[in-house]
């Protein structure tokens, strides 16, 4: 009498079945591992840019404008990159679970390990300035990207609310207690700095980008109470490529003039 084993062997022979070649399994496993590594790498990049945006975020803005700290913090979070990070962590987990031994590890353990790897690699990338670079490239090439990431430029171009930012056109030593800046909308401002607290990294030199907290005193004039560096490269580059740079300065004792040639 034919046993199940005999019948199975018979079937294998009659249908000329052969074992699937080893390379097919190796290829499949390699693809899954490659997918896992790519997912971790993309997650790291997402973490890197998110970290850059978080570290350049104005977390203390509410102190100057009297807004809600919590609402400010929520609106300033880099949601796009955090969502990308989350998606790729999940993708990494999915790939890992489909490797040969992936089932041996708990889902949460794999998720935590993926996030940990993204944090470590992303932090290294952040130190190299990659986050800043990628943010700038994205902003330059994808208009929709600007709408999806916190818009600091608009936040800091609200003179009526006491917030202003821009590039220094005339330094303090040229006009005592004042500097002239051009904001990100192209408008020039005469800034009084005599009673301002100046961040140590700000030297009030031509070409430096700064952000100011204070009060608009009249048209084109602003009294600064706090002066800080503007440290977001993407807006600076965009601004510089769009603005006319031909500016000439004349000074007389007690008077200052700025003449702009278009």
């Amino acid at each position: 009498m034919n046993t199940i084993s005999d019948q199975a062997l018979e079937k294998l022979k009659s249908q000329h079945m052969k074992p699937i070649p080893r390379w097919e399994f190796l290829l499949k496993d390699s693809v899954i591992w490659a997918g896992f590594m790519v997912a971790v790498l993309v997650g790291s990049v997402a973490y890197c840019v998110a970290l850059f945006l978080l570290t350049t975020q104005d977390w203390d803005l509410y102190r100057y404008v009297g807004s809600n700290a919590f609402a400010d913090a929520l609106s300033g979070l880099p949601y796009l990159w955090l969502i990308i990070l989350l998606l790729f962590v999940l993708l990494a987990m999915y790939n890992f679970r489909h490797t040969q031994s992936g089932y041996r590890y708990r889902v949460w353990g794999v998720i935590v390990a993926s996030i940990g790897a993204s944090i470590v690699i992303g932090s290294v990338l952040h130190v190299t300035g990659f986050g800043n670079y990628l943010d700038r490239v994205m902003a330059d090439n994808l208009p929709v990207y600007r709408q999806l990431t916190p818009d600091r430029q608009s936040v800091w171009t609200q003179p009526e609310k006491g917030l202003l930012s821009g590039k220094i056109l005339t330094p303090e030593n040229l006009l005592p207690n004042t500097v002239t800046i051009r904001d990100f909308k192209g408008k020039k401002w005469l800034i009084s700095v005599n009673s301002a607290l100046v961040d140590p990294s700000v030297r009030l030199e031509i070409g430096q980008y700064i952000k100011l907290v204070g009060q608009k005193t009249s048209t084109g004039q602003f009294q600064a109470t706090h002066i800080m560096p503007w440290n977001m490269q993407r807006w600076i580059e965009e601004y510089e490529t769009s603005q006319d740079q031909s500016i000439l300065f004349f000074t007389n004792p007690g008077q200052s003039f700025i003449i702009r040639y278009n």
């Binding site: 199940i4 084993s5 074992p19 699937i20 031994s101 089932y103 590890y105």
Partner: protein, 198 residues
Amino acid sequence: MPTPEEYQLKSDEELVIMTLADQEVFLYLMKRYESKLLRYVNRTFSTRNEDAEDIVQESFINAYRYLNSFDQRLKFSSWLYRIAHNAAVSYFRKAKARPQLIDSEDSDLILEKIASDYDLEQETHVKLTGEKVRDVLEYLDPKYREVLVLRYLENKEYQEISDILQKPIGTIGTLLNRAKKHFVNHAQTKTLHLEETV
């Protein structure tokens, strides 16, 4: 060429390597596991012998086709049980049939093993017979029933169950504990129901 007796002395892993060179050698592996797999499938999924035989045959064919994917870090038996588990799940999904119940002899065995972990009479306030155990098992979720069968009837270690069901070893421990608790809960409910109808 080795004699049949020499083949019997070879390890599973050695037979796997030999099978890749000679299809006939696979027969020795299949013979070695035929009754074990049949019993496992019967206990876990079906009392209908024809179903179990189909599933075991399908398992052997799949095992042969996927022989090159066998991970030598695993026990061959775990790998083969996993294939049988997948074949059975696939079989019942296709047939849209619900797995049936295990037999009375196995019910007694499960009762004996679980009773060593729990004071069942104390927990359920009633003396459980093999028949009642079978009634209780009928209401257990298949995933709980399978883990009970693997642990108490197939005497598999946690690591082996983990490799068969492809779940983390910690999850197996949790699953087994839950299976035992569900067993006790169902035993209490079932007993009350039986007493009311008497």
